[in-house]
Symmetry: C2
Subunit: 338 residues, 2 copies
């Protein structure tokens, strides 16, 4: 199978992205990596790596979408950007998946435009794992769709269930609805209507989940609309960093606390590992006709390598095929098909 990597996307591109691609190519010698971007730049970076595995191919793209470019504008204007060319290679069947650490909005827009949605899917959604006390909670959507309807959220529940089953090996994932109270009738109109749809679905729906309860492992999956999910994800990142830096800054103020921090340094290890996005590589944009893995803007070579692994896992486990067949079976009341 062949995976496209947008060599120009991300704060650490092209160096770390190319390096991660080389490692992925070495890790998966039977698969192929298509590196898309400025040919000369990629060749220079490959030379810097000291080796170019034979399963790496370069595809030239003359433009790059900047992090400050508006998403739809850049897709329309920069038709030869590395992200558009990358997605087109999946759309034309030359590759099964695309990996990008570039502009998230542009990646979502390009994928939705060129790959289109899977049969039966109304809107694609990004599923991101949030580390909890005992494991992770998959939150969907975290920013692809900020005009969510109840049916979109129901479909997110279906898609994330398949993803959790085939990628995380969870047999019967518990699906929760992010809400502002535990009681059935809580929340805004979107939450109330979604609650009713989820209750009547074949999903393992466990009811409303409050912000606090995400960490109590009440559900394996939490569905929410993209605006809320995006704010939540970034808020969590900011809060974690703020907490850890406050502890560190305080501990550096005296000899004994500094010594203490040094001694208990290893206690922070599992936490850092949990929070380390480079471990899981990237998050999937579920619902598009092809595999699309969105990486953190600060992705390094390890993150890219792991993102390629995740892309291959999704493709080899036929996650998209399972989503289509599950949606066909799913109990979706016709009245709500909007």
């Amino acid at each position: 199978m062949r995976v496209v990597v947008d060599a120009m996307g991300g704060d650490k591109a092209p160096r770390e992205v190319v390096m991660g691609s080389v490692r992925a190519a070495q890790q998966f010698p039977d698969d192929g990596i298509l590196l898309v971007g400025d040919e000369k730049v990629i060749e220079r970076e490959l030379a810097a790596c000291g080796t170019t595995p034979r399963n790496i191919t370069i595809y030239h793209a003359s433009q790059v979408v900047g992090m400050d470019d508006p998403a739809t504008f850049s897709i329309r204007q920069k038709t030869n950007s590395s992200i558009t060319r990358s997605v087109e290679l999946v759309a034309s069947g030359e590759a099964v998946a695309v990996v990008s650490a570039g502009h998230t909005g542009a990646t979502v827009a390009a994928s939705t435009l060129h790959l289109r949605t899977l049969k039966g899917v109304r809107r694609p959604g990004i599923a991101a794992p949030i580390p909890t006390r005992l494991g992770t909670c998959l939150v969907i959507d975290v920013g692809a769709n900020i005009a969510c309807k109840p049916l979109h959220l129901l479909q997110y529940g279906v898609m994330a269930t398949i993803y959790s089953k085939y990628i995380f090996g969870i047999k019967n994932p518990r699906v929760g609805l992010l809400n502002i109270g535990e009681e059935d009738a809580k929340g805004n109109d979107l939450a109330k209507e979604t609650f009713s749809l989820l209750s009547n679905s074949s999903l393992n729906f466990v009811g409303n989940v409050e912000g606090r309860e995400i960490f109590d492992s009440k559900a394996d999956i939490v569905v929410c609309e993209g605006f809320v999910g995006n704010v939540l994800l970034k808020f969590g990142e900011g809060l974690s960093m703020s907490l850890l830096s406050t502890i560190k800054a305080e501990a550096m103020k005296s000899f004994w606390t500094k010594l203490g921090l040094f001694l208990c340094k290893s206690a922070f290890g599992p936490l850092r590992a949990k929070m380390d996005f480079t471990e899981y590589g990237g998050v999937p944009l579920l619902g598009v006709n092809g595999v699309c893995i969105i990486c953190h803007g600060r992705s390094d070579s390890k993150a890219i390598q792991n993102a390629v692994r995740v892309a291959l896992q999704l493709s080899k486990n036929k996650v998209n095929e399972h989503i289509v067949s599950e949606l066909e079976k799913a109990n979706v009341p016709a009245a709500n098909v909007t």
Copy 2:
């Protein structure tokens, strides 16, 4: 001035609530505390305190709103509940403020129903401080209004600005709009329309603030609709607890890390203080015609005492009067008056 305290509200009521009220009565001998709830229960708790300051008065209320009662139902059915009686004492002018650690939804509903909104205010909103790296960020609304319109959010900006000026002493508070990107044109319809209103207002508007940026002190105030704010606040609480308990559990696994944690224990102090809701006592429901302080459900006597202090501060600084006059001056485009 007289402050009503709902003696029956909160997980630690009536004991801690009555104890906190006694301390507040001693701290503010020139003001009065009206304790509302089951007369016999309050008398018993006052006896347990060993002293009943002469500026404490008991008002009997036979019913209590349970934490599981639906908010509006309980307000309509339990007309003699401690929260309804408390709010009525403010509405009738017998007191200037109400403090409750009980059912938040019921407190908001009773206050909105009996106190009504301040002149010019469309919807009341709850303003909660979130500890950041360098101070706090006041987030409004965190759950009073889950059907927000742009004008509501603009008014939240105005009300929180007054509150920050008179309570926190910030001269010209910077107001931000919670959004999913920094660029002006980002976000859903609500965010886009609110951005335009805030840009044209007399507020010190600093633009969009992403979830992560709340911790970077980009703004003193962040406005958002109540569903998002509520989810965020609870998510933050869950995440903080999850992080700290993970570190502690890991540190307890070996002798050296345990010793290290003991030595650097004091480094966690400022963090705990920042996160300690009992310090700031309670959060205001801004926009109702009277002062309403909502306390955390787990409030102890210290939190109640501080909440009474905050209630008196709001009343003595005439925060509501300033809100009314500021809204009259505010630049609110007529087309958006919805």
